[in-house]
């Protein structure tokens, strides 16, 4: 009994992480290796494959549709983040004010949209964005000179803005929750010290608040960029495909089309590895920035 008890004590941590290790080997490492092999083949469905060397990668570099997808994805990422981050921070600043009543209500109201799945948001926004009679166009017609005829889902130039609008509705509250928690963790004494030094509101924001929330800001930027690079469901359901003139085609949507609609798992793998490169680039930049923080 005693030796048995000692045995389980020694083996316990290994048993506890065993599920992760097994799943990592079977459903991460193996498919990752398969993706390398597949990327060197031309396939039609699983099974039928033909070795083509680096042809897939050669092709991806001159594939206009792929680069259209990259351009759309990057445009989306930049536009989305440059609105989402300041809007979330602004809301958090408002909500962090001492005078706010009903803070809990606002917090839940802002966050609630984040629970709605991408597919459901897309179906809902399909109707909200309808021309002339859709709610969004009615509001735009009432408060701006653009009128109610904006054809969000039909006009190429409006395709990405439509996706960004839906994405903002989905995630402004999510960012707000993180900023609010960070703001509440900023040392109050720093504000008092700044007050003593005669700092104004703007100066306090730049020299106390912003440095205080910098880690969360960087975290949200990284999560936001990686998430945006993987954009798929919103445009795919909103436009039932790549949108007018392929203007809502994203990298992951192209991977999905090539791999699972056309059936070329090899080319899809090559696209996947290009996505890995994109994500790795921003991750490394982020790690450098965080390191610079620590050494400062």
């Amino acid at each position: 009994m005693n030796t048995l008890w000692r045995l389980q004590h020694r083996l316990a941590p290994y048993l506890f992480v065993l599920p992760f290790v097994v799943l990592f080997l079977c459903f991460m490492l193996v498919p990752l290796c398969r993706s390398v092999v597949l990327a060197l083949h031309k396939t039609s469905g699983p099974g039928a494959m033909q070795f083509v060397g680096l042809d897939n990668f050669e092709f991806v570099f001159q594939d206009d549709l792929f680069w259209r997808a990259v351009r759309n994805t990057l445009t989306y990422t930049v536009c989305f983040l440059s609105i989402q981050i300041p809007a979330s921070l602004g809301l958090a600043l408002l909500l962090n004010s001492r005078f706010v009543r009903g803070r809990d209500f606002f917090r839940y109201a802002f966050f609630s949209t984040h629970l709605v799945g991408n597919v459901f948001v897309a179906v809902l926004f399909m109707l909200l964005l309808a021309p002339r009679h859709g709610l969004i166009n009615r509001v735009i017609g009432a408060v701006t000179p653009f009128g109610t005829e904006l054809n969000w889902l039909g006009k190429p130039d409006l395709a990405l803005p439509a996706v960004i609008l839906a994405a903002l509705w989905l995630s402004v509250g999510f960012g707000m929750i993180y900023f609010l928690a960070a703001l509440q963790a900023v040392d109050q004494e720093l504000y008092e010290a700044a007050q003593v030094d005669g700092a104004g509101a703007m100066s306090k924001f730049w020299h106390v608040t912003l440095p205080g929330i910098r880690p969360v800001l960087l975290f949200l930027l990284l999560v936001g960029m990686i998430g945006s690079f993987q954009l798929f469901e919103l445009p795919y359901v909103l436009f039932q495909g790549p949108g007018p003139d392929n203007r809502a085609l994203t990298v992951v949507m192209y991977l999905f089309q090539q791999g699972f609609e056309t059936g070329d798992l090899g080319y899809a793998s090559a696209i996947g590895w290009m996505l890995v490169l994109m994500v790795l680039a921003v991750s490394i930049a982020q790690i450098r920035l965080t390191r610079a923080d620590r050494t400062d």
Partner: protein, 282 residues
Amino acid sequence: MSVSRKTSGPASLLLHAALVLVSLMLLTPFLWLICATFKSQADMFDSVFLPWGHLDRLTTANLRVLFTREPFARWLLNSLFLASASTAIVVLLSSLGGFALAKYQFRGKPVLMLIMLATMLVPHQVLLPGMYEIMFQIRWIDTYWAILVPGAVSVFGMFLFKQAMQAVPDELLQAGRVDGCTEFGLWWNVALPIVRPMVGAFTLLSFTGTWNSFLWPQIVLQTEAKYHLPIGLANMIGLPEYETQLGVLMAGTLCSVLPVMLLFFALQKDFIAGLTSGAVKG
């Protein structure tokens, strides 16, 4: 005191006006969705929210069509099953792994942590072609195994639980060992109750994750009777009969969103505290 109240008067009013305005912008789509569910096709776009002059024209026909002409009830049950089962598994296994990382020193731990970090940096879409091939070979295409098994442990969850369980006092665990408690028992009886808020937060997170998942289920689920809500609803959009019955799509969206909202209200206390605890410190 009275001075600060006076100066805060107009500013406070402006502040609350801004907050109310933003809440309205965010909540109005929900309100519109509820209204649209009960509107007839003729009223769908003619009245902004409800046809106030003709409230008798409100109808439950959209819901009836949804549940009779489509296997929507089946999809709802499938969603409930998939999300509950995967949540139960992933919460248990991830907290078990997080417990090991937080409270034990064992060989290979640094390597393991490194591997976990690396998996979080790789976008999972690159795995899709390889995963599909594996699922094809082990005949898991069009089964729930393909969804439940690969998602049974979450690296993110393990990190969350590791962070939370570092707060469990070692003396408490040692006392349990003296009393003859097994390590497994320590996890279940001591560590898990202490990190209850994190269990709540991660439950909601993984439940909504599976409930809202689309890309992988869309690839592996092929029989209509096995669809869950996102796949079922997304496939309804393509059908011509619903272009003239948009209310049915809205009814489907409402019924898909409501269960998650209810769960959120049940777990809300744990949720926000648990969700942000790691990010702020790190």
